[in-house]
C-alpha cells in the first residue's frame, strides 16, 4: 500500500502545477442528504446509518435523511440547511443523475450557488434496487456516499455561456412535412432555405387522389401551402438540390447544397410549347407507370416552381424546344451549382418511400394488373393516361373483381419490416371505397390481418366502407398468381373467420405497400451524423419526450422520416419540429454548459494527441501554437484527457484530480469498513 500512496502523492504534486485548476476556493462545506424514496431505498438501506456515517466524513458540515428529497418539503429542507450551515456543496444520495440532478441543482442555484456544486449519488438504481442483503446494501451506500462527498469537495463551478447563433434554418425535403415546417418557421420571421431533390415541391401528397377520412382532394388541400411557400419572402426554395456536406454545430451549421441544372431558366412562363414539340416521350416517374411525359416536362400541371425541366438522360439534343421557347428560357449550357449556407438549425423532412413489393415473390408484383396503392392513386388521378377511370392496366377493361391486399411489406419479419405502417388500413379502405363508388357492380375484396383505425372519424370511415358492400376478409393471401390459363389473377387466402380457404379470381389486385425509409437517406444521415433506427428511419431523441429532436443537437425531424405517419400526424409533427427548431433562433443565443475541455498551455508539450483523439474535431492547432479547444463544438466527452501524456488537457468537473478523489475515497472507505468489521 505504501508504494501506491507514494505514487499518488507524486501525481498530486505534479497535478498541482496545472494552472487551470480552479483557484483556491473557499473551504468545501458539504451537506449530505439521504433520501428514503419511500420504501424504495429505505426498505433495503439503513438510511439513518448512512446519514450518520456521512456526518463524519471530511468536509461534511451537515447530514440528514428525509422521506422524499425531491418533494417540495425535501427541497426546502435542503435550501434551509444550505442557508443555516453555510453549505457550498450538496450531495443528495437518492436516484439517478438523469432523474433528479436538475431538480437539486436548481434548488441550490436558486440560492445563488453554482448548480454544478451539486453531486448526485444514485443509491436507488445502483444500490437498493440491485442488492438483496440489507447490510451489504447499507455498506455499499456508505461507500457511494463517501465517494460522492470526496467528489463534491473537489468540484468547481461551471459557467453557462450564451453563444450567438445564425438566425436561419434549412429544411431538407419539400413534401408536406417540409412545407409545413418551412412555413411555420418563416412565419416566425426566421429565414428558411428549403432543399428539395425533385423538380417540384409537394412530395407524395401531390400524387394522391383523395385523402381520408373526408375524401378531400389533396391538391386542393395543399396548394395554399405550396403557393405560400413559393411566394414567401423569407423562404428560398431550391429544387433539384441535395445536401452534399454539413459542417459545424448547433447554432452554426455550414451546409453545402448542390443544385443540378434544370436547363430551363426561371423566366419560363410554363406555356408548354417546348413539350408540345419535343419528340421524345417517356414514362412519367411521378405517375408510377400511369402517365407519359416529354423529355422537357413538368411532372404534373400544378407543379411548383412552375418551370419546365429538361431531362438530359432522354433528350436527343434536337433543339426544337430552344427554337420554340418565346422567352429563350431553355439553356443547354447550364451547369450544376454549389452553394454554401450558414444556418442555425436544420429540419430533416425527407419523408418516406413506398415499399417495393417485388421482394415478396409469391405476390408477383410486376404483372400489370397487380399494382400498389400509390399506383392506384395515380390511376384515379384525372391527369394520367386512364383519365381517372379504373381499368385493368393489361387490357383497359373495367375490372369486375378487385382485391385489396393489406400488410404488404409491413408486419413482415421476412422482409425485415416488423413494424405496422399504421396508415395502410385507412388508405386501403379509402381506395376500396372509391373503387366501389366508381364501379358499384364490381366486387371489392379487402384482405387484412387486423383493421387498425384508431382516432376520430376513422372507425366511422371503416363502417361506411362496410356499408358500401366491400367484402372484408380477415386473412393474408398466401399467393397472388396470374392464371396461366386465362387473364385473371388468382388470390389464395383463408377467411380465418369462417376457416375457409378461398381462391378469388381477380381482375385487379391492389397491394397496400407499407412505408419505408427513403432510399439514399443513409447518405444524408451520414452527412448529418444522425442515428437511424434499425428500420432505416431517423431515430428520434426520445420516443415519448423528444419525437421531433434527432440524435444530434440542432437537427430536428419532421414527418415520416421519423416513422410512418398519415398526413394529419405529419403536419402536426412538422409543426412541432418547426417550433423546436425555431426556439433557439427566436431566443437568439444558445446556452452552453462550459464543462468542456481546457488546456494548460504551460504543461502542454504539443504532442497533438488530443487533436487527433477528439471525436468531434473540436480541438485545433495553428502553426507554432498550442492546441485550442472550440468551446462550442466540444461535447465534453473527455476522450482527450487520457490521450494527454502530461495531463495538460482536462474536462471541467471530470478532471483527473476529481475522478481520482472519488475512486480513492471509495476504496479507502471500503478498506476501512471492512477493517472495522473484523
Amino acid at each position: 500500500m505504501s508504494k501506491s500512496e507514494k505514487k499518488g502523492k507524486q501525481r498530486k504534486t505534479r497535478k498541482a502545477k496545472n494552472k487551470d485548476e480552479p483557484a483556491e476556493q473557499e473551504r468545501p462545506r458539504v451537506g449530505v442528504f439521504v433520501c428514503h424514496c419511500g420504501e424504495n431505498i429505505a426498505g433495503v438501506v439503513d438510511v439513518k446509518d448512512v446519514a450518520e456515517f456521512a456526518s463524519h466524513l471530511p468536509n461534511v458540515e451537515y447530514s440528514t435523511d428525509y422521506l422524499f428529497m425531491c418533494s417540495k418539503q425535501g427541497i426546502e429542507l435542503i435550501q434551509k440547511a444550505v442557508k443555516e450551515h453555510g453549505l457550498n456543496r450538496t450531495v443528495v444520495a437518492s436516484c439517478s443523475y438523469e432523474q433528479h440532478w436538475p431538480t437539486f441543482a436548481k434548488a441550490i442555484s436558486d440560492l445563488g450557488l453554482n448548480p454544478h456544486m451539486h453531486t448526485q449519488v444514485n443509491i436507488r438504481e445502483w444500490c437498493s434496487w440491485v442488492t438483496d442483503d440489507k447490510k451489504a446494501a447499507t455498506e455499499k451506500a456508505k461507500r457511494m456516499v463517501a465517494a460522492g462527498v470526496a467528489r463534491a469537495s473537489k468540484k468547481e463551478p461551471v459557467a453557462t455561456r450564451k453563444i450567438p447563433i445564425t438566425k436561419r434554418t434549412m429544411v431538407v425535403g419539400g413534401g408536406v412535412a417540409g412545407l409545413r415546417a418551412a412555413m411555420d418557421l418563416a412565419e416566425l420571421g426566421i429565414p428558411v432555405v428549403l432543399v428539395e431533390k425533385e423538380t417540384s415541391i409537394g412530395g407524395h401528397m401531390t400524387m394522391l387522389n383523395k385523402t381520408f377520412p373526408t375524401n378531400e382532394c389533396p391538391m386542393c388541400t395543399v396548394s395554399p401551402l405550396l403557393n405560400g411557400v413559393m411566394s414567401h419572402p423569407d423562404i428560398e426554395v431550391l429544387t433539384l438540390s441535395e445536401v452534399t456536406n454539413v459542417e459545424g454545430t448547433m447554432g452554426h451549421f455550414v451546409v453545402e447544397v448542390t443544385t443540378k441544372p434544370r436547363y430551363v431558366h426561371d423566366n419560363c412562363t410554363s406555356c408548354g410549347r417546348c413539350a408540345d414539340v419535343c419528340p421524345v416521350e417517356v414514362e412519367n416517374e411521378w405517375d408510377h407507370g400511369f402517365g407519359m411525359r416529354k423529355a422537357i416536362y413538368k411532372p404534373f400541371p400544378q407543379a411548383l416552381p412552375s418551370v419546365f425541366t429538361l431531362d438530359t438522360k432522354h433528350c436527343i439534343d434536337c433543339g426544337s424546344c430552344v427554337i420554340v421557347c418565346p422567352v429563350d428560357a431553355v439553356d443547354f449550357s447550364m451547369t450544376k451549382e454549389e452553394r454554401t449556407f450558414e444556418v442555425g438549425t436544420i429540419v430533416v423532412a425527407t419523408g418516406y418511400e413506398e415499399y417495393d413489393p417485388t421482394e415478396i415473390t409469391a405476390y408477383h408484383y410486376g404483372h400489370p394488373d397487380i399494382i400498389t396503392q400509390l399506383q392506384m392513386e395515380r390511376m384515379l388521378a384525372p391527369t394520367t393516361l386512364t383519365k381517372g377511370k379504373i381499368v385493368r392496366p393489361s387490357n383497359g377493361e373495367v375490372p369486375k373483381t378487385v382485391v385489396v391486399v393489406q400488410c404488404v411489406g409491413s408486419r413482415n419479419d421476412q422482409v425485415g419490416n416488423e413494424y405496422c405502417t399504421g396508415v395502410c388500413c385507412m388508405f386501403g379502405i379509402k381506395n376500396a371505397g372509391i373503387i366501389k363508388d366508381h364501379l358499384p357492380d364490381t366486387e371489392v375484396y379487402f384482405c387484412y390481418i387486423d383493421i387498425r383505425t384508431p382516432g376520430l372519424y376513422y372507425e366511422e370511415y371503416y363502417k361506411r366502407a362496410q356499408k358500401k358492400g366491400i367484402r372484408f376478409i380477415r386473412g393474408r393471401p398466401s399467393t397472388i398468381t396470374p392464371d396461366p390459363t386465362g387473364d385473371k389473377i388468382r388470390v389464395e387466402v383463408e377467411d380465418t373467420l369462417t376457416h375457409m380457404p378461398m381462391c378469388i379470381e381477380a381482375d385487379l389486385v391492389v397491394l397496400s405497400a407499407g412505408m419505408v425509409a427513403p432510399r439514399g437517406f443513409g447518405k444524408l444521415s451520414a452527412k448529418l451524423e444522425l442515428l437511424r433506427a434499425k428500420e432505416g428511419f431517423a431515430k428520434e431523441y426520445h420516443v415519448k419526450m423528444g419525437p421531433v429532436r434527432s440524435s444530434r443537437d440542432g437537427v430536428y425531424l419532421a414527418g415520416a422520416i421519423q416513422g410512418p405517419k398519415d398526413i394529419t400526424q405529419t403536419v402536426a409533427h412538422a409543426g412541432g419540429a418547426a417550433s423546436a427548431a425555431a426556439q433557439p433562433l427566436v431566443q437568439g443565443f444558445l446556452e452552453k454548459r462550459m464543462d468542456t475541455a481546457v488546456i494548460d498551455e504551460e504543461l502542454c508539450i504539443s504532442c497533438l494527441g488530443c487533436v487527433t483523439t477528439c471525436p468531434v474535431g473540436a480541438i485545433s492547432v495553428a502553426e507554432g501554437e498550442k492546441p485550442k479547444v472550440n468551446d462550442v463544438a466540444c461535447k465534453s466527452c473527455g476522450a482527450c484527457v487520457p490521450a494527454c501524456p502530461v495531463g495538460a488537457i482536462q474536462i471541467r468537473n471530470f478532471r483527473d484530480s476529481q475522478l481520482n478523489a472519488e475512486v480513492s475515497a471509495l476504496l479507502s472507505v471500503a478498506a476501512e469498513l471492512e477493517g472495522g468489521d473484523e
Partner: protein, 180 residues
C-alpha cells in the same frame, strides 16, 4: 347437475397440457408469436381437401389443447414447406408440425398404416422395398439385381432396427376408427 357444470363447448383452461407449448418452443417455434393471418392455411395443399387448418393447429398448440395431438389433422401435412416459406412472422410452421407429430408419436398416436411403414424399414432398411418384378426389370436394364444397400447386410439391418424408431404402443382408449 354435474352434467351442466362443464359445458363441452367451453374451453376448460385448466385442462391444458403445457408440454405442447414447451415442445414447440424447444423446436424453435413460439406459437404465441403467431398473428393468425392465415397465410399458412391458404398455402396448404391439404387444407383444400380436408378440414385441416394449419392456422388452427398452431392456435391449438399455442393454447396447449391436448386434442391437437390425437387429431389426425397434423398427419395431413405433406411437409411441402409452403407455409414455412411464406409466414410473415417467419415462424417455422412445418417444423412445428413435425414437433407436434413427434410428441403425438411418443404418446402412441401413430396410425397403423404408418406403423407398417416403420415395420418395412426395420425389415428391409427401406420404406419402399424391392419386389420380384423390379428385380427382373433391374436385370433387363443392366443393373445389379439387388442394389448394394443395407438390405444386403441383414446383421446390420437387425442392429439398426433395434436402435431406431421403436414406436410406443397405441393408447388403449384411442382406436383407429376414431381417427377418420
Amino acid at each position: 347437475m354435474s352434467v351442466f357444470k362443464n359445458p363441452p363447448c367451453v374451453l376448460d383452461s385448466g385442462k391444458r397440457d403445457p408440454t405442447i407449448e414447451e415442445t414447440l418452443k424447444a423446436a424453435g417455434f413460439d406459437p404465441n408469436l403467431c398473428i393468425q393471418c392465415g397465410t399458412c392455411t391458404a398455402s396448404c395443399p391439404s387444407g383444400r381437401w380436408t378440414a385441416m387448418r394449419t392456422r388452427e393447429v398452431m392456435r391449438k398448440a399455442a393454447f396447449s389443447i391436448e386434442v391437437v395431438l390425437s387429431d389426425p389433422d397434423i398427419w395431413l401435412c405433406t411437409t411441402c414447406y409452403q407455409c414455412y416459406d411464406r409466414c410473415p412472422r417467419d415462424l417455422q410452421v412445418t417444423d412445428a408440425i413435425i414437433a407436434l407429430r413427434n410428441l403425438a408419436s411418443a404418446r402412441g398416436f401413430i396410425s397403423d398404416k404408418h406403423r407398417k411403414t416403420v415395420d418395412l424399414l426395420h425389415k428391409t432398411g427401406h420404406a419402399v422395398p424391392i419386389n420380384d418384378r423390379i428385380r427382373k426389370i433391374r436385370k433387363e436394364l443392366g443393373l445389379p439385381e439387388l442394389p448394394p444397400t443395407v438390405y444386403c447386410y441383414p446383421e446390420e439391418l437387425e442392429k439398426l432396427g433395434k436402435t431406431l424408431f421403436q414406436l410406443p404402443p397405441r393408447p388403449e382408449d384411442h382406436d383407429e376408427e376414431e381417427e377418420r
